[in-house]
Symmetry: C2
Subunit: 325 residues, 2 copies
C-alpha cells in the first residue's frame, strides 16, 4: 500500500471529504455539517473526526495519509495556511487552518482557494487532463477562475490571481457586485444571466419568461435555459449575451496565458451544448483568424466532486514536487 | 574572472550585441548591419564575427562565454531554437538559429521573442526589479507584451502567450491589424493613437493638429504629445482614449496573473508623465476599490538596450536554473 491522500472541500454549510489512493482514485467520500456558527475549533474538530473515521472505516491508519489538501473560498494567505476571513463562516478570522489540522492529524496540509482547487482537479484528472496550460471558469452566483501555466497554478503577487470574473469586457458597462463596471461577471454569471432576463421582461420584452416572473416574482438562469430549449426569443437573446461575454473573455485569455484548453464549470453548464456551442460560435466570430483552431473550449467533467478531487490532487502534486511541509 | 554573457538583439536592419559580466553589467556593446536580404548564413556570420571581435577586443576568449541570449520578433519555435519566418527578414524560413550559432561559437544559446526578452531585461535589472510578478507592454507600432509569473516568463501552450495588444477591450470596436475588433492595440499603440487623431481632424475636430496634417499629410503620436503639451483639446482627448484603453488592460491583467508591477516601454513612453498619470487616473477610476493600491504602474528604464540586456539576462537565468543546453 503506497499511502492515501485526503481531499477536503470546506464550505459554509457542509464539509465534503474524500480519501484517494496514490493514483487519485476515490476510495470513499462523505459529507458532514460545517457548523460554522460554532467557530473554528468546532469546524476543525468536525473535519478531524470525519477524516479519522473514514480512514479507520476503510482499514487504514492515520499514518497512511501522505498529505491532506483543502480548499475554501478566500480571502486567505494560502501559502501560510491562514483563512483571513470568510463570508460563509463569519467566526473565521485569521484562522491558521493548516497548522491546526496538522497538529491534530500529524500530516502535511496543502491549502488553496476553492476555484484553484477545482481547476487543479479538472487539470489532474478531468476535462483539463493531458495539457499543461488551461484556463478554468466557474459559472455560478459569480464567476470564479483558475489558471494553470506550464503545469503550475498561477497565484499572483498576493495570491489573488485569476479573478477572471472581474476582467472588464465592456468599459462603462453594467455595474458589477465588485463596484467595477463591465466585468464579465456582470453579464455571464448565473445571477447576471437571470438578472438580464428579468430586466428585459420588466422593460416589456415579449417572452414566455414573463409568466415565470409573474408567478415566482423572479427568474433564474435555469428558467432562461428551459425557455431557450422551448425556443423563446428573449431567452435566446439573453443566452447570446452570456455566450458572447464568455467568448470575448476566452479570446483575452488566449492572448494572455495562451491555454490549450478552456474549461467551464459551475451550475450554469447544466444549460448544456446550446450554451457551449454559442460560446464557440462567438469565439470563432471574434478571434484573430489564424488562432481559430488553437484552443479547445469544453465543459468540466468532475461535477460536485471537483473540490475533493482537486484538493487531493494538489496534495499529491505538492508531494511529487517535494514541497510538503 | 567568472565568465561573460552575450546578449543579441536581432532586428531586420541592425544587430545589436552586448557583452555582460556575471552581474549583468555591460562590458561593451556594438551594432552591425543585419544584411537580412543576404539570407540567414550571412546574417549569422555577421553575428558570429561581431561576437568574436568584441570578445577578443575586450581581452576575453570565446571559452569565457557562459551563454548567449538572443531575441527576435516571431513567429518562432523558441524552445527549439528555430525562426519559422520573419516579417523583417523574408529569407528566414525555419532557420535553426540556435544550432547555427552554437556550432560556430561553441556556446549554449538561449532564444526568445523580442518582447519577452525586453520584459525579462526590465525584470532582471530595470523597472521590474525586486518583484516576482510583472506585466510588460511595449507601445510601438503595435503593442507587444510579456508576463512574468512567480519569477518565470509565461510562454503558453504554443509559445505565443502575452500577445497583450490583442486582448479585446471594446467588443465590436475599432478594427485591428490582426482582423479582430476592439483590441487595445487598435486604440493605444503609437500608430492607433496617431490614426485616431488624424481621423478626428479629418472629421472636422478643431485642433492645432490640423496644421500638422495639412503640412505633412500625416500625424504621428509624437505630434499628439507635443500638441498635448501645448494644451490642445483634441490631443488631450486622444491621449485620454489611449490612457483609458491601457488602464482597462492593466485592470484585466491585475485580475489575471496579478502582477505587483506593470511596466510600459516603447517609443510612446517618450510622452512622459502626462501619459503615465492619465493611465493611473483611469486605473483608479475603473478598478475595484479594494485593489486600488495593489499594483505599481511605471515606465521602463532600460531604453534601447533592453534587448541586449534582456537577452544576456535570460542566458544567465538559464544557466542559474541549470537549463543550458
Amino acid at each position: 500500500m503506497s499511502g492515501i491522500f485526503v481531499g477536503i472541500d470546506l464550505g459554509g454549510t457542509n464539509i465534503k471529504i474524500g480519501l484517494f489512493d496514490s493514483e487519485l482514485k476515490l476510495v470513499c467520500k462523505t459529507s458532514v455539517a460545517t457548523e460554522a456558527d460554532m467557530g473554528p475549533d468546532v469546524v476543525i474538530d468536525n473535519m478531524v473526526q470525519t477524516v479519522e473515521k473514514l480512514v479507520v472505516d476503510e482499514g487504514f491508519a492515520l499514518s497512511d495519509i501522505i498529505a491532506i489538501g483543502i480548499g475554501t473560498p478566500g480571502p486567505a494567505k494560502y501559502s501560510e495556511g491562514i483563512i483571513i476571513r470568510s463570508t460563509n463562516m463569519p467566526k473565521f478570522k485569521n484562522v491558521p487552518i493548516c497548522k491546526m489540522l496538522n497538529e491534530k492529524l500529524g500530516t502535511p496540509v496543502v491549502f488553496d482557494n476553492d476555484a484553484n482547487v477545482a481547476c487543479w482537479g479538472e487539470y489532474a484528472v478531468g476535462a483539463g487532463k493531458g495539457v499543461k496550460d488551461i484556463v478554468f471558469f466557474t459559472l455560478g452566483t459569480g464567476i470564479g477562475g483558475g489558471i494553470i501555466s506550464n503545469g503550475e497554478l498561477v497565484h499572483g503577487c498576493a495570491e489573488n490571481a485569476a479573478e477572471l470574473g472581474h476582467t472588464i469586457i465592456y468599459p462603462d458597462g453594467r455595474k458589477c457586485n465588485c463596484g467595477q463596471r463591465g466585468c464579465v461577471e456582470a453579464y455571464a454569471s448565473a445571477d447576471s444571466t437571470a438578472r438580464r432576463a428579468r430586466e428585459a421582461v420588466e422593460a416589456g420584452a415579449e417572452s414566455s419568461l414573463k409568466e415565470v416572473l409573474d408567478e415566482k416574482s423572479t427568474i433564474t438562469s435555469k428558467d432562461v435555459y428551459e425557455h431557450l430549449a422551448a425556443d423563446d426569443n428573449l431567452a435566446k437573446e439573453i443566452t447570446d449575451g452570456t455566450a458572447k461575454a464568455l467568448a470575448i473573455t476566452c479570446i483575452n485569455m488566449l492572448h494572455t496565458t495562451e491555454p490549450k484548453r478552456i474549461v467551464f464549470a459551475g451550475g450554469m453548464i447544466a444549460a448544456g451544448n446550446v450554451l457551449l456551442d454559442r460560446i464557440r460560435d462567438y469565439f470563432d466570430e471574434h478571434i484573430w483568424s489564424i488562432k481559430k483552431e488553437s484552443v479547445e473550449i469544453v465543459f468540466a467533467t468532475l461535477g460536485e466532486d471537483a473540490g475533493i478531487i482537486g484538493a487531493a490532487a494538489l496534495a499529491r502534486h505538492a508531494e511529487q514536487q517535494g514541497k510538503l511541509k
